[in-house]
Symmetry: C2
Subunit: 334 residues, 2 copies
């Protein structure tokens, strides 16, 4: 489905999924075709997490950016599946790093098979993806993807460096988010444009679109950790603080609460304990201080900036879908 006239029926994210269903099924097929290790355990563990209900945001954005730039081929099925492999590899490692037991409402791979298996299957998925990415024989794609992976790891280490420390500057929070989350999303967008042989200028536009959208996505995710309905998020609230992570709403609160409350928060971050009462108190404080609104406004500003990057592109289904996807980042409740 190349870029065409605006499909006025695309208003919600569900419309986007519907419009690109067959394309995403193509990605899905490739994901399963690529699980071909001769070591059965590798395929089992990888399938567990790959089939756990991920929304395939990165392959979708890659596809939409390719279509936006006039791409009419089918290479995005394979490339999208490889991006999803890399994303999945980072989730396997993140769950070990975070001691996470639940992801998307299911037991994590590390909970089922242990940390060791999760680390090594993560390594496998990453290197398997790299093996297949080089088959595209595109210097640009190789560069963009390797750079994104490097930035992800740096973002994760920086996050760990600040673990348990509530005195993180807001600029470093944004740097972490940009590296660990937005990097691969932005790279996915750029790779879509590369497939379409778009101009450098267009590639830069969709890269920035992905970067801003990715930052907003993570900021909203961090906000949901204090506001979402636990069941729909598939995880317990307050997990970031329990893991010693200060995120944007908490950083805002720390600058706007009493010394006593600040001390309470520092103490909970250091001891990585948070009772239901503590959590409720935190949520109430964030409500009083407008910390959630502050973070969501930040996310909204990034979405506005993201959509501005689309201005130079022709109107059409893909552009409409990208705009809806951008709005979805701040309106989603899980």
């Amino acid at each position: 489905m190349p870029q065409g006239p605006v499909t006025s029926s695309i208003h919600t994210m569900a419309d986007v999924w519907d419009a690109y269903r067959s394309e995403l099924d193509g990605v899905e097929d490739r994901i399963h075709q690529n699980l071909t290790s001769s070591v059965t355990l590798v395929n089992t563990v990888a399938a567990h997490i790959l089939n756990s209900g991920g929304k395939r945001i990165r392959p979708l954005l890659l596809l939409l950016c390719a279509r936006l730039c006039g791409y009419a081929g089918r290479e995005h099925h394979q490339l999208g599946s490889l991006v999803e492999f890399i994303h999945t590899a980072t989730l396997l490692h993140d769950d070990v790093v975070d001691d996470a037991d639940i992801r998307r409402g299911r037991q994590t791979a590390r909970k089922v098979w242990g940390n060791q298996v999760s680390i090594l299957v993560g390594d496998y998925l990453y290197s398997k993806a790299m093996c297949q990415v080089v088959e595209f024989r595109s210097q640009k794609i190789n560069e963009v993807l390797a750079e994104a992976c490097k930035k992800m790891a740096e973002g994760e280490v920086l996050q760990l460096y600040y673990n348990g420390n509530p005195a993180m500057p807001e600029g470093d929070y944004i740097k972490i988010v940009e590296h660990k989350t937005a990097g691969l999303i932005a790279a996915s967008c750029r790779m879509g444009a590369i497939l379409a042989e778009a101009s450098e200028e267009q590639q830069d536009c969709v890269f920035r679109f992905g970067q801003y959208l990715g930052i907003a996505f993570q900021v909203v995710d961090d906000t949901l950790d204090y506001t979402a309905n636990g069941a729909s998020l598939g995880k317990t609230l307050g997990q970031d603080l329990r893991q010693g992570k200060a995120t944007l709403p908490l950083l805002h609160l720390l600058n706007h609460c009493s010394d006593r409350d600040r001390q309470m928060i520092k103490d909970r971050m250091e001891t990585r304990t948070l009772t239901e009462g503590d959590l409720q108190r935190l949520i109430d404080l964030m409500d009083e201080s407008g910390s959630i609104v502050y973070a969501l406004n930040h996310a909204q500003a990034y979405i506005t900036a993201a959509k501005r990057e689309l201005r130079q592109f022709e109107e059409g289904t893909a552009k409409r879908a990208l705009s809806v996807a951008a709005d979805y980042m701040v309106t989603r409740d899980r």
Copy 2:
């Protein structure tokens, strides 16, 4: 130093190191120049393990194979340093997987900074290496290295699959060793030949040379776990069994000991406990059954096969050095 007449002064590994000292210093310089993360902790942790006395076997073999095939350039400094980055990334992850506290006589990174940092800095080193490898703009190098990394991860998962299980077929032991250790060594040799623009046939020869040498290297390593002087190995004896790993000497012993001793070994593998008395008993049993000799003979056969791959190449310093390096794999005592 391109391939020239035989340097008769190369008899031992020390002679090899001496003859190629300035070349290896070039690799060393690149290793440090490549530690440029904007996240300081990444550089600190990476430097800790990169400066812990590794012998740079892979960069050396890459260099020697390049020279063997007539290469006269200096690109191997950078490429060798990147292979060492990848090797180091696997060590960081291995130490987490093995719960290792000591490597090369020093505290492991995971002991100093924790598992989380080790996992993520490993990810960083791997993706940083990939970033710089793609700068060579060589499709062949990209393919060879990504394939080696994939095989390494598969080998590690297969090893984990058999963890605690003494009934592993010897063929699967060799598969593990070939994947987890020999793959990157063989890839290093092939990349040297690729730099030299050697024929496919020559590339295949040095690849097999590296593969056989790599298998021998690991088999000897596994033997040293039961025989080496603990201090010189920089680790405690019997660690493999304590980690539930059956290696070649143990597999041989299990096929040649009494039911009672077999039961004792199974029990120790399952419970991952091994007293000094157990260890001494094991070593005595291996002595009686010729298990160490059996494993070393295996290693020797691989070295013989490796050296056979060198026959088609011109005599000279590099060939002599590769032959000495191959012999060193079975004669080294640490």
